[in-house]
């Protein structure tokens, strides 16, 4: 199987967020700020790598600034074979434009893909847009919110969790599959994985931009939780109070 997986560079969640002065972006100027992928996308990568194991290949597509190469190398270190960076100048791309560019790049790629796997939504903007719009652009079916995935005979079996029930969809490939955190346990890079990743091909293309139909006006921080710790006591003296707390939160009855 040949699988395209779409990923997005996002700020590594710090304990406390702050915004830039004009409130249009998350402040990432701090030296300690790192970058990562959304948990759903880490699972998308893992799913793709597992499905392609053997004779298939996984190609990662990412739309973003040149720095996004860092995230493409990260997924290469866990088994992605090749990367395509749709390099932008850092301006904001809305979901429609992003999906259109990714779909165009996937179509233009030399590989005939059996599936596109994405995360259901990104952890920073939670737009839920790109996967569905890629499917629409490609004219493929999509299953979203997938928590269980297997493929047999060109058919993907996708499980979704709905309340306490599970829905199972079978979809004939090619299709777009949008997975959620928990569909698998993503692997971490090994040293050989890191070494191989540095040598894997990474192509950079310039996506065709189109006028954004949605404009980001400003961001607002949600009320941030301030965590507080209460010392219940020390040693054996603390035990009764711990029992009380455990009862309170329903662990003990």
């Amino acid at each position: 199987m040949n699988i395209a997986v779409c990923i997005k560079r996002i700020p590594l969640s710090p304990g406390k967020w702050s915004l830039t002065a004009d409130e249009t972006a998350i402040d990432t100027s701090g030296s300690a700020m790192g970058w990562t992928l959304s948990p759903h996308e880490e699972c998308a990568v893992e799913a793709a790598v597992q499905l392609a194991e053997g004779d298939g290949s996984v190609i990662a597509f990412s739309l973003g600034t040149a720095d996004s190469a860092e995230q493409i190398r990260e997924v290469m270190a866990v088994g992605v074979d090749r990367g395509v960076l749709l390099e932008t100048d850092g301006m904001d791309w809305d979901g429609q434009a992003t999906a259109a560019a990714l779909a165009a790049a996937i179509t233009a790629d030399e590989t005939n893909f059996d599936a596109v796997i994405v995360g259901t939504e990104s952890a920073d903007t939670s737009g839920y847009q790109v996967g569905v719009r890629i499917a629409h652009a490609l004219g493929w079916p999509i299953v979203t919110n997938v928590k269980g995935l297997s493929v047999e005979g060109g058919v993907a079996r996708c499980e979704r969790v709905v309340g306490s029930e599970r829905e199972v969809y079978e979809v004939t490939l090619p299709a777009v599959i949008a997975v959620k955190d928990g569909v698998n346990i993503p692997r971490y890079p090994s040293v050989p994985g890191r070494i191989k990743a540095r040598k894997k091909p990474l192509d950079t293309v310039t996506p065709e931009s189109r006028p954004a139909r949605m404009e980001k006006v400003k961001l607002a921080l949600p009320p941030q939780e301030t965590s507080s710790a209460k010392v219940l006591g020390s040693g054996a003296e603390a035990a009764p109070q711990i029992v009380e707390v455990l009862k309170e939160i329903g662990v003990l009855t």
Binding site: P14, G15, K16, G34
Partner: protein, 835 residues
């Protein structure tokens, strides 16, 4: 939890291994009313301690660091928080193999046991997952271990609390330090102000910023050390312990690998220096992990992945051994690689315990507490003393340049005379351009550029031939030139001109001046105006605090001249112990110094001045103002090179004409420029002159150094009581000069020791005195006038008789040496100086 007190005897800021250890040892030494605060939570407040690798390798070429490390290991053991795993430093190159033999010799000098060199197969036997074909051998130390620094710190804190000495508060952030009249007054926090007599800054990476709140300088920078844990490692699946194999340091790649439960931890000092400012460190709330655990940057680890794979292919090459944890962890680096300890010179009562790594944490805690409570630490900390810095050494540029240069030398092969390349030409004497024109090769001392020797003297090599004691091995030729010995011999024949501008000079004036120098200096200071006195300066225990010369320029006017490296510490010591009514003026940047020595020195000086410079008219040990080239200079008839001559103190602005006049007059008398190679090594060594640092330090007494005056002055002085006691007993060891009988190594090459090597009995056994101190070479160098290589060392009485045959171990070989005695081996009657 109780609220922050408004008053305390001492506030310790920081609850990492250092802060906890300082608090604990202060409590043990009897202090009460100590308050500890940290802005993070306990037991892991988020500093470097929390992510440290925690292993402790014992051998360091620096004695002070080795002693602090050994004491720390003993303390971790006492708290049952260390596991002895053994450690192996492996070599991939012949240069490293030589370095490993050097590490063994340093280890022997500091009393470390159970060390051995291993063949690749022997390494493989102990560490079966290593590829022994990529290494040439290893250096094993049995005592290497891994500690639990968080646990040890917690235990120390709890013990201090149990003693009723300490109250500890987490999540309290320092906002300001209040200083009144140069003395610490209070710590202002987000939860109230604590008035305190003493404040200790033990805040690791944050220390520079905290000190700045009080106007004090702690010159360090946070820097990244990368590490990652991979696993699960199939081979460790059945590991019962956290650590069942020795820790491996892959020295040539600046890396280490160690088993960590079922994982393998890989750490590196090989990546580009990544420095931060404390302002860049997020708060505990803002940080993704702990504040000092920055996101791992894999691109900086690219070579390291390859190197780890080479050394441990079986484990590192396993795709299933995955990165479980990887960080860019912050640690503290200083411009000279040493910790920053002691009371800040700027603020009385404000102490620094900074730039300390886990391996020396408890030792530093103990030493700091001794220093604060008893006035001096048992381990001499002169190389870590915060007072050592000159203003130019605390600038951000200097810190960044030097730490960037030093970082990749963490596991480096660093020559004892190695020079820094960055941030040079900062302090230039008035003679610099003239020296440059003479082909001076400049070495640096506390930012001064000092000629070490002069290429213009290379013609002398032919003249003196083998008497310059040429060296063939690269190691001993590095940072050395036979020209030094040629300059030495020529100076002894005619005369040499030496630039000594790096000296630190300060005046003590006023009604309290005499009382101050009397109290601080061991020798009689109440001498006639115009006298120059060379004197030891003692610590309360009678060990050396310094040695220096004092000139009496007036009834209430003394000028202290001391070595540049230690000058600012000396100034602080004098100020700390000053009598009422003494005023200090630091003249270091105002006055330059020229040394003029040799048999022709008098002829040259008399040609440029009208003053009477005859032996009778200008006797040894006196000073006076004279005029040279129309400039008034202060001339002092003393000598540290063993020849007739003067130190001439010249105002910086007048330097040029004075140098030119002496230089011109000298041409008729064979005057040559002479570098510090002669002044600091060859000239003094054959005269048996001891130097502060190598020979004279807190570990040794005046009696042991062989420098007891016949009579002790009436006036009280620091260390007097101890010294009087030392005079009563036979010394446990005596400073001796040794000469090397045969330089031939096992491969047939002539080798020359550089200092730090162990002195052994004829059958190769270490020599330990009754205080447990090993005999080691304090200084080594050529004595060209006697054609010998000289070693200085302290020897117990049974080995110190002249004519005793012993052995010195150097780079894996042993060489026969003979004890010459305690004094000079050249002109012992001082006829030259007194001529």
């Amino acid at each position: 939890m109780s609220s922050l007190p408004s008053k305390a005897k001492c506030v310790v800021i920081g609850a990492g291994i250092v802060g906890n250890s300082v608090a604990y040892h202060l409590a043990r030494l009897g202090w009460r009313d100590i308050v500890q605060i940290d802005k993070g939570p306990l037991p892991n407040p988020g500093g470097s301690t929390g992510h440290a690798s925690n292993f402790i390798f014992l051998v360091d070429h620096n004695k002070e660091m080795a002693q602090l490390t050994l004491d720390s290991l003993a303390q971790y053991k006492e708290l049952d928080t260390v596991f002895e795993s053994g450690g192996i430093e492996v070599a991939r190159t012949p240069e490293r193999m030589q370095e490993l033999t050097r590490r063994i010799t340093s280890g022997k000098s500091w009393g470390i046991e159970d060390m051995s060199l291993l063949t690749p197969d022997e390494v493989k036997e102990m560490v079966p997952f290593i590829d022994e074909t990529v290494i040439l051998g290893g250096f094993y130390t049995k005592g290497v271990g891994v500690c639990d620094s968080l646990r040890a710190g917690t235990l120390m804190r709890e013990k201090a609390i149990e003693m009723g000495a300490l109250q500890s508060f987490a999540n309290v952030e320092v906002e300001d330090l209040t200083v009144t009249d140069g003395r610490i007054k209070a710590v202002v926090t987000d939860q109230g102000t604590i008035e305190a007599e003493y404040v200790v800054i033990a805040t690791g990476c944050w220390s520079r910023q905290i000190a700045a709140m009080a106007g004090a300088e702690i010159p360090l920078t946070p820097a990244v050390h990368q590490m990652k844990d991979i696993g699960p490692v199939a081979m460790f699946a059945d590991a019962k312990g956290d650590l069942e194999y020795p820790i491996v340091r892959d020295m040539d790649t600046n890396m280490y690998e160690r088993q960590h439960g079922t994982g393998l931890e890989i750490g590196s000092y090989a990546h580009r220096p990544i420095l931060y400012d404390a302002e860049d460190i997020p708060s505990n709330a803002e940080a993704a992990l702990s504040p000092t655990e920055f996101p791992f940057t894999p691109e900086d680890f690219a070579d390291q992945d390859e190197h780890a794979l080479e050394l441990m292919p079986e484990i590192v090459g396993d795709e299933n051994a995955q990165e479980k944890y990887a960080i860019n962890g912050l640690l503290s680096l200083t411009p000279d690689g040493m910790p920053i300890l002691g009371e800040t010179p700027e603020v009385k009562g404000l102490w620094s315990a900074a730039a300390v790594w886990v391996k020396e944490g408890p030792g530093v805690g103990r030493a700091m507490a001794e220093w604060m409570v008893l006035g001096q630490p048992e381990i001499d900390l002169h190389a870590s003393d915060i007072a050592r810095f000159y203003p130019g050494q605390t600038t951000t540029k200097h810190i960044k340049d030097r730490t960037s240069e030093g970082f990749n030398k963490t596991y480096g092969i660093v020559h004892p005379a190695e020079q820094w390349a960055s941030n040079r030409e900062v302090r230039l004497s008035p003679y610099y351009e003239r020296e440059k024109a003479l082909g001076a090769v400049f070495y640096e001392t506390v930012q001064w550029e000092r000629p070490f020797y002069y290429e213009s003297n290379s013609g002398l090599l032919e003249k003196y031939g083998d008497a310059v004691m040429p060296r063939t091995s690269e190691w001993e030729s590095r940072w050395w030139s036979p020209i030094i010995n040629a300059e030495h011999l020529q100076m002894r024949e005619t005369a040499g001109l030496v630039d000594l501008t790096a000296f630190a000079l300060f005046d003590i004036t006023g009604p309290g001046a005499l009382a101050t120098v009397q109290r601080v200096c061991m020798r009689q200071m109440d001498v006639a105006v115009g006298k120059v006195v060379y004197t030891p300066v003692l610590a309360p225990n009678g060990g050396f605090r310094s040695d220096l010369t004092v000139m009496r320029l007036g009834d209430d006017h003394f000028r202290v001249v001391t070595g540049g490296a230690h000058g600012m510490s000396d100034l602080k010591w004098f100020k700390d112990n000053a009598a009422e009514g003494a005023t200090f003026t630091n003249l270091t940047d105002d006055i330059s110094t020229i040394g003029l020595w040799g048999p022709n020195a008098r002829a040259i000086l008399s040609a440029v001045t009208d003053a009477d410079v005859s032996h009778e008219g200008f006797s040894f040990g006196t000073c006076r103002e004279i005029t040279i080239a129309g400039k008034t200079v202060l001339a002092s008839r003393i000598s540290y090179v063993g020849d007739l001559g003067w130190e001439i103190y010249v105002p910086m602005a007048d330097g040029g004409p004075v140098w030119d006049a002496i230089w011109a007059a000298g041409q008729a008398h064979g005057l040559i420029p002479v570098g510090i190679g002669v002044y600091g090594t060859t000239g003094r060594l054959e005269k048996g002159y001891r130097a502060y640092g190598p020979e004279l330090e807190g570990d040794f007494t005046v009696v042991e150094a062989g420098m007891s005056p016949k009579k002790i002055k009436e006036a009280d002085f620091i260390g007097k009581e101890s010294h009087l006691r030392h005079r009563e007993a036979a010394p446990a060891a005596t400073m001796c000069l040794l000469t090397v009988d045969d330089h031939t190594s096992s491969t047939g090459e002539k080798r020359y020791m550089l200092g730090g090597e162990p002195i052994l009995t004829k059958d190769g056994q270490p020599i330990t005195d009754s205080h447990g101190r090993r005999s080691y070479v304090t200084s080594a160098g050529s004595a060209p006038s006697v054609g010998k290589h000289v070693l200085m060392t302290y020897l117990p009485p049974e080995y110190s008789s002249p004519g005793t045959h012993l052995v010195v171990e150097y780079l894996g070989d042993q060489y026969p040496v003979t004890v010459e005695g305690s004094g000079a081996i050249f002109d012992p009657a001082n006829e030259r100086i007194m001529s």
